[in-house]
Symmetry: C2
Subunit: 406 residues, 2 copies
């Protein structure tokens, strides 16, 4: 293949108004899988994440990670010339993606009906925290706010304490992936019907979708089962949770028939059928004793690795609870491309997560870079809109086009 961008989504062009995390994750899935993504950034600062995680050479690694292989077009969005440029770009794009607060894209004069007037079969994907419609939709859109409303936060932490929050962008990133799925589905639908679509993807809905049992158990029990957090141990089988080892924690999933495997590993086969220990239900009633038994045994190993080896030799499903530090040089992570090393022209070599979509025909991760602010101003205006060099220069001089060193 001669096109270095050749991948599953080659040939699709996206006009990308997203900033921060959920939206940029969505369009990055497309950009890293071959689509052309033109990221419109607002002058003078561009995506607000260009200001954070500036760990080397004034370059935001946060921006780099979420914006690989995109083109940056930086415009003064208050100017009429900028809006004209955008109106000329829309007909050339298959998809528009935005994650402004609900209502903003309409106020900018780029609502779905307007976009349809510019291109009849346009697909607009609107990403937000709590959705485009509904009584909560106007509320500010942070990941943790959607998580708190969704009931997911209430399922994390110790039962008798306030909940804990995961220190990772779970809601934003997975909502970005859901949005990417919805766009790909809408493109398949367009190919079949010739019609566009407005997609409304909210973090709240994505988070809520994670409740694989909680909602129906509350509902079908008429409120008798009130799902809540349960610390580090699953509440309906046992053992299934996190146990402290000598130099770290171990996830042990030794419920049902795996109890016998764990007993064998611990050289306590007497407990396989012992009264009060034989079933998950019995063990749940004495969870404290189960924890003491397993943790005391884990302390007999010099390290977690030794305990894992022993457990695995007996067929007990288990895992070390790895720190982020322990993942980046792990052979499995490197071989699979779960972690990858990118070479940023400004910040240099750095590791970030790999693309989670692995295909048989294409590499998951190509050596892409992220754009500097407005890096593709001239390219987009010349190649796509047929503007002359002189026009481009004039627009830059007038402040309609803007660019920056990082």
């Amino acid at each position: 293949m001669t096109n270095p961008n050749e991948h599953l989504l080659t040939g699709i062009r996206i006009l990308d108004f997203t900033r921060a995390l959920a939206g940029p994750t969505c369009t990055r899935m497309f950009a890293e899988m071959g689509a052309e993504v033109i990221k419109v950034e607002s002058a003078p600062n561009g995506d607000l994440t260009r200001a954070v995680s500036k760990m080397r050479a004034d370059r935001s690694l946060y921006y780099v990670q979420q914006n690989l292989n995109k083109k940056s077009l930086c415009l003064d969005l208050r100017s009429a010339d900028s809006m004209q440029i955008i109106r000329e770009l829309v007909p050339l794009c298959d998809v528009v993606v935005e994650n402004f607060k609900p209502g903003v894209i309409d106020a900018m004069g780029l609502g779905f009906e307007t976009l349809k007037g510019l291109r009849e079969d346009i697909i607009l994907c609107s990403i937000s925290a709590l959705g485009q419609k509904g009584p909560l939709s106007a509320k500010p859109g942070y990941d943790y706010i959607a998580q708190a409303y969704s009931g997911i936060t209430s399922m994390i932490g110790e039962r008798d304490q306030s909940p804990c929050i995961p220190m990772a962008g779970i809601g934003d990133v997975s909502t970005g992936v859901t949005a990417a799925f919805s766009i790909a589905a809408a493109l398949l639908h367009r190919a079949r019907t010739g019609r566009g679509q407005h997609l409304d993807i909210g973090l709240l809905d994505c988070y809520y979708h994670y409740h694989e049992v909680n909602v129906h158990q509350y509902s079908a029990s008429d409120g008798e089962i009130e799902p809540t957090r349960n610390g580090r141990h699953v509440g309906y089988v046992c053992p299934a949770g996190i146990y402290r080892g000598t130099d770290g924690d171990v996830m042990v999933m030794a419920f049902l028939h795996h109890w016998a495997d764990l007993c064998a590993a611990m050289d306590r086969t007497d407990l396989i059928t012992a009264a009060g220990w034989a079933t998950d239900a019995e063990r749940l009633t004495r969870l404290d004793e189960v924890i003491e038994l397993v943790e005391t045994w884990l302390q007999t190993f010099g390290d977690v690795g030794g305990a894992i080896d022993k457990l695995e030799a007996h067929g007990v499903p288990c895992a070390p609870v790895l720190t982020v530090a322990e993942t980046v040089n792990h052979p499995h992570f490197i071989e699979r491309g779960t972690v990858r090393t990118i070479h940023d022209p400004i910040a240099g070599e750095v590791q970030i997560p790999g693309m989670p979509v692995k295909t048989s025909d294409y590499p998951a991760d190509s050596p892409y870079t992220a754009p500097t602010l407005g890096e593709h101003n001239a390219e987009v205006l010349r190649d796509l809109l047929g503007r002359s060099d002189k026009d481009v220069e004039a627009l830059a001089e007038n402040g309609v086009l803007h660019s920056g060193p990082t």
Copy 2:
């Protein structure tokens, strides 16, 4: 539209070997968005989740939730007749999805090369915990095991204690969505190139992808920054976390310029610029005092709702930490379809999460039901494979086809 299944993915047919949660979520996205999904279940029990969450009339609500609008074909997979049926179905299907342990689909005689022999442009999506390849790939595939390896578990809980685990199927469900995206992308690619694809989607890769900053911060600091859990408060801005109110918890995101809004809400405008309180960095050094200040103020309200009203009146981003019980009748959840009520023919009316993809042309949630075991045996064999009623009866008598009441 006369086709009641008309939606974004109508016209696609999937042969679905998945069980449990990640795989069924993937194929359910397709089934609820118009695709025809033929779920192959192994006789005599079918999907193992048919045995859990049986809360009413011996019907598994777990199975119902993850398998709406699928067709159930229940086969004795050890019989040669069953394998012949599957070999006849493959050429009629666009996509095959499976989430067996890596290697099992090959051992069944249905590996990617074999499937390609049956249909040249077949798309096979293989979903697993730790991926199809790599030194860890053979390990047992529970959500929490992938989560423990990914470093995500290490980011949840109190700093000085072992981590906590979320009581929700975050990894399985979001991996199912990632797999659905990868399939939709492969279908777009097939339309452009005529080629099929083998997709390798692992929970580990999806979980790792959630680290929006952790991996690059560890890497770019040469290990100086060691990302870890931080309880209920974000570690780099303040206030941003969970504060205890009178009858529940409140998520307060009052960092940067929102600090002034919070001070105004608390009638403590003296703290906006007070020495030691004015910046996020200063407030982080006295987090305990910030917590005491905010929580003492929250206790002056009769309930969390009153505190939320006051905070919102001052423009402070915030949210109540809702329990699952508080979500199911919440007007926003009902209006958006974040929660939906389904009518199961066996178990009756029950609430489950709505589909997170909302479109302008189609309802997100149609009144679909989940199949009883083998419900569509005859339909699939007659309509798709042209078998006679007599043939179907004989196969049922010989135990090749199997069915059950729920």
